[in-house]
Subunit: 388 residues, 2 copies
């Protein structure tokens, strides 16, 4: 018995080593990431989705590639250049950074993206379905930066406005509008940047799969001004008020929108899904379409929802919700960690109990990341503004 | 004599030390730079224009602040946080980076800007005249990102288009256009980013000092596709052809422009000044206004220009040039290094010899940097499109 256990242990150990050895041996088909800075050879990605980073740091003692919550030691060559690679990453876009002798810094090889509360490096693992957000020879809409002063927050704010191809010349046409929000520790650059919202719509419109629409991407952080200087109290969010009484009137005055609830949609990812669900349920006279990408307003709870009390009973009359909302859409990645599957699952159970019609989409093999949200927008946008 | 020299040497040394000590003692009124990432306390700038950077790098041996061509050693505290400051910098915007044990990386405290051939850190030294590019409660135009396929280069290219306040709603109005180019190792993000072209025009238009105009900011690097893969031959620039046969027709088709030469201007900074001077002189049927900010087409030569041969004799008939060009404008910073003052000076001598009318502006106390070019645009834009 003792011998058997010893042999078993050795077998397990050697099998483990074998797996480790195989894991660390990367297939040598690395290519520069598509979001590298012009002319930069590194970082690179191989067909397994491994990321290989490289940086010159001749005097450094320890350089690490920090991606997906794991720090991978890099190795220095005789010229002082450090190289190292990660385990395979999921398809799509990821934030990451380098650690040089304890300093966390962006990799100077990549373009920079705002997420995780900072402007930092990004990497693109080519996805099998990347065609839907590829830059193609189709008519391209504009993404316009709009700066405005917000009286409610007493601050200058900014949104990006996608106008579809033909908007500038078809001056008699008016368009429906999707208000599309980012997640926590992200900002208004997320959807037009790593989210590729403009390219997703350009391609869908070229294929006649989506109605030409305007998309407004604003910043979900908006606070009352007098709270900003008071360190003892939690800042009071006025994002809903900014959306309803500042952003929408400004967009309706400045762009050729269709001025009714049937032609307005609101959607968001994660924190944005939570925020926008509250906004539509409080303002059913303003919007008739909702999209929740990897989030719902019961977050982070996975407990059973009581529709009589949840969001002040806004889902209590299921028939009325069905009458008022044209598209109620939820999406989630199959690899998302808790509490997302639990809280979205509890929310879906409530919808089903109430007889509320909704669409549910699962993004295969993606986590709480941008590939889930690109796919969600791609699916969601095709359903919008098609009911009369 | 020996003693005298020794005493003199000691005196000089101690005086030098005194100067060094004074130089290194900064006035303690540092404030976070206005182009820091949200919530980041460093880098900071004081009233002398010194930059103080800070980064945690507990295991590092040497960390330096690398700005204005000088590397300043930073000092580590007991928590492993490095802090250090530069000598006073000129007013305005500067690119910079950190060096951590030999690795050149962006400072994670700042937003990132494209210049010097990379996306990297930037710092803003508050200028005495910063009001003219400040974000104010005035009507704001849009800055629109326009992606397009360029047959000449067989590539996707991008420009940013500023449309003035009122453009979206005054649909009967047509506007003049300024084509505005960046410098070498910069790109189409320079003018709408660190150049603040949109804010400069928003403010000028609000004060009725400039005519409402469209500004098109494209990328000055454009090469024939077959040259890209051939390492032995120098890539052939086709930027002029792209400007004339791709960009301008696209802008005229998509935006409400005034379709004649009197209502088109072209300007650029440094490399862009050189490029755009060639473009206007080769295409006087297309443009009637020129702006050269810190550059001319005789760059880098300071030699006397022979108008009979320079640019194929385009300046040989001064009277004709005066008839054809409404505004011929040149600008330079008083602290610019050679060859800029020499080559611009030689060019001005040629203009004067030929009797060609031009405006010359000097930006006080600025070098070959963005504060010179912000001021140049501010001065230049006020003169445009005012002749009948």
């Amino acid at each position: 018995m003792k011998h058997f256990l010893l042999i078993l242990a050795l077998f397990v150990l050697s099998a483990t080593n074998l797996v480790l050895a195989q894991t660390s041996k990367a297939i040598e088909d690395f290519k520069p990431s598509e979001v590298n800075q012009p002319g930069k050879a590194f970082p690179q990605v191989n067909s397994e989705g491994r990321v290989r980073a490289q940086i010159s740091a001749p005097e450094a003692k320890l350089v690490q590639l920090d991606i997906g919550g794991v720090k991978y030691d890099m190795v220095k060559d005789e010229d002082g250049v450090w190289t190292g690679e990660s385990a395979p990453q999921d398809e799509g876009f990821h934030y990451y950074q380098l650690n040089i002798d304890g300093a966390s810094v962006p990799d100077p090889g990549t373009k920079f993206f705002y997420g995780a509360g900072r402007w930092g490096s990004g990497i693109e693992i080519p996805a099998h379905d990347r065609d839907f957000y590829a830059m193609k020879e189709v008519p391209h809409g504009l993404v316009s930066e709009l700066n405005y002063f917000s009286p409610l927050t007493q601050s200058f704010r900014r949104c990006f406005v996608y106008t579809p191809p033909g908007y500038e010349t078809s001056t008699d046409q008016r368009y429906p509008v999707l208000y599309l929000q980012h997640g926590s520790f992200e900002d208004e650059t997320g959807w037009p940047g790593q989210g590729k919202a403009n390219l997703i719509l350009d391609n869908l419109i070229a294929e006649k799969k989506a109605v030409p629409m305007i998309i407004v991407m604003d910043n979900g952080y908006a606070y009352e001004p007098h709270e900003n200087s008071d360190g003892n109290s939690r800042p009071v969010s006025v994002f809903e008020e900014v959306m309803i009484s500042e952003i929408i009137p400004m967009i309706d005055a400045r762009f050729r929108t269709i001025l009714d609830r049937k032609h307005r949609a609101i959607a968001g990812l994660s924190m944005g899904a939570n925020q926008t669900m509250r906004i539509i349920m409080n303002n059913l006279g303003v919007f008739s379409n909702y999209g929740g990408f990897s989030g719902t307003s019961n977050y982070p709870s996975s407990s059973e929802i009581d529709p009589a009390t949840f969001l002040d009973g806004k889902f209590d009359d299921g028939k009325k919700v069905n009458e008022q909302i044209d598209v109620f859409w939820l999406g989630l990645g199959t690899k998302e960690p808790e509490p997302f599957p639990g809280s979205v699952g509890a929310f879906r159970k409530m919808l089903e109990k109430q007889g509320i019609e909704y669409v549910y989409y699962e993004s295969p093999e993606t986590a709480h990341e941008w590939q889930t949200w690109r796919r969600s927008l791609h699916e969601y946008a095709q359903r919008l503004f098609k009911k009369n």
